[in-house]
Symmetry: C2
Amino acid sequence: MSNQIHDITSYMQEVGSRARTASRALAAASTAEKNNALMAIADDIDQNRDTLIQENRKDMQAGAEKGLDAALLDRLELTPARIDSMIEGLRQIAALPDPIGEIFDMNYRPTGIQVGRMRVPLGVVGIIYESRPNVTADAAALCLKSGNATVLRGGSEAFHSNQAIAGIIHQGLEKAGLHADAVQVIATTDREAVGMMISMPEYIDVIIPRGGRGLIERISNNARVPVIKHLDGICHSYIDDEADLEKAIQVTFNAKTQRYGTCNTLETLLVSEEIAETLLQELGGMLLEKGVELRGCETTCRLLEQAMPASAEDWDTEYLAPILSIKVVKDLDEAIEHINTHSSGHTESIITENYTRARRFLREVDSSSVMVNASTRFADGFEYGLGAEIGISTDKFHARGPVGLEGLTSVKFIVLGDGNIRS
Amino acid sequence: MSNQIHDITSYMQEVGSRARTASRALAAASTAEKNNALMAIADDIDQNRDTLIQENRKDMQAGAEKGLDAALLDRLELTPARIDSMIEGLRQIAALPDPIGEIFDMNYRPTGIQVGRMRVPLGVVGIIYESRPNVTADAAALCLKSGNATVLRGGSEAFHSNQAIAGIIHQGLEKAGLHADAVQVIATTDREAVGMMISMPEYIDVIIPRGGRGLIERISNNARVPVIKHLDGICHSYIDDEADLEKAIQVTFNAKTQRYGTCNTLETLLVSEEIAETLLQELGGMLLEKGVELRGCETTCRLLEQAMPASAEDWDTEYLAPILSIKVVKDLDEAIEHINTHSSGHTESIITENYTRARRFLREVDSSSVMVNASTRFADGFEYGLGAEIGISTDKFHARGPVGLEGLTSVKFIVLGDGNIRS
């Protein structure tokens, strides 16, 4: 394979058509076949570490020559630890229950038919991602287990690494008797290939972009195929005046400082005016000591002299950095109003011992994860017990929040009868 | 309100923004408030039958003058029986359980957090439909019960009928203390309004087009908002050589002849070659006697002299008429292959007493409803026990098959903790 393909249109149509054919066979594949393929791929990655690292080095060198920045080069690198975690990921996905074919809600109707649902694959999943080559194995594994064929388009800077991983995946599929076209990695770095992927609903059933906001918006705006989007995480915690202050401090400190660069990191803290003074003194001190910059509303700045004044923009910003915006609010109503106006719909948490307010917050806050007395950092497929995640959806349609195997499936109706007719 | 609005763009943005505001309030509305509104609307329709019929007469007259055909005029007419069924529909939807706020799958995780899901509304649902004015009440009721604000755009020929129904709905909403903007019926017949509706993702979360293929394709191709599509119903039955012939004949005859014009009507019959001769003699005779035209493959035409030869096109045609295409196939594999190639993914049925083949058919046929020994005519929200349906989705994404209240909802994650932090 080469990264010079002259007729992108016919190449992509060929890829799409092969994926569609493979997806039919994969939908009927047994749980054992799928698990055997996943285990074979894991073993082959383990046995081909040297090749992987060699191919990755080509990408690293080319990247360094092109002047990629250090953060990008870091994401691009396949270290032994990252290879370990790819292998571990494949084995974990093999160990998860197979979602496909699950039958549920079978009920008899007055006409005598028995009606229920069966979980089935979506069909063909297209993944468009940036530099991390480990996504190639992770995403392929989740799609394979959920019975979907995959078309993967990685970043051009990871071309050699991705092609090497693709080769190993094909071997594993064939060892398990599955169709090698069940996982295809686009063999060109031409950008036109992305344009084609997002406009072939006849071949691709859903697109999952994994990357920065720019990538995701570009794809969503132009796609003619459904897209599972993950936009910003502007996450809020509201500390109620009936909060246990000990818990409030512990949870908020964790939500902001456990990791700064993740989408479920706390970005805005709302505090009830009743307890603002006490709370901000203690929590503010801890955060400042940890090196977190505080940007507050007027009241916050009055109560905490080290806080800088927040601008209007701050309430709509995902910092992904040691910065926290703080607003003192009158009550729960003002907190919910602020969240539903400024949140990106990712994750919000209330800290309170008040039953009625906790219940209202859960019901009325319109975000993909809503929490009581827990750190927003828990919003994650592994923490939620999904076993793995292909991303976090900030959409409401189809899948919302962390997307695991179930988010890659659909359900059809099944009807069992005994010669029943409609009258 | 008038049907002459000069600035469609700002009118539609106003409608969208009001819908968004109303949807926030409606998401938090209690079950009693929603049911009270539905019952009040039903009562008010009952008390305003004369006005409705008067307004409908304006549309009927204008339609007759414009030269609309008889079928269209029939769909447009609000007869006393149709008004009864609108009222009955509203009361039935009031009696259904409220899907919103349902909490399920709450499990403890090793970290101590308890994680589960809560069912929530999608937000704002846009419905674009053609001539039937009863859709205005039916669709508004389903959206209201599922906590969604609605923007309805009916056909221009039903303008006066739809505005009259809208007036009654607004009264009912206000009587129950709900926001009148929760249901808005577009007050212009300008086509530009449809173009706006399908391209305001900031205000409308999903579009459901109800009408002919032309309408649905036009909308899906241009929408920037997710669309729940209902395309053709090219439904198949496969009669296996291990079928109970009595059941096979009864079910197939029902699936084809109980109603000709519905999307779940049988269009293509596949018959195993082992039993083709016996079966086609008896079933063919019954169908011909009923006035059904038979179009067969070569073998069919040989076995049944009254059958006309089918063209290649027939296998991809939704007749919606007393016509049936018939193909004799070698076995289950050929039947599944034919279905997965030619079906529109709506509904298919196998007639067999063989356990293993029934199980394979259920798993491998990729359609929104898959049946064993039952008439395809059962594919319907009421027959499935959904209580009501807003349409049948032939998509796999989000909702598949008959769409009831649940198809108009999303689920968010909820996390209950006790001060838990992530380590």
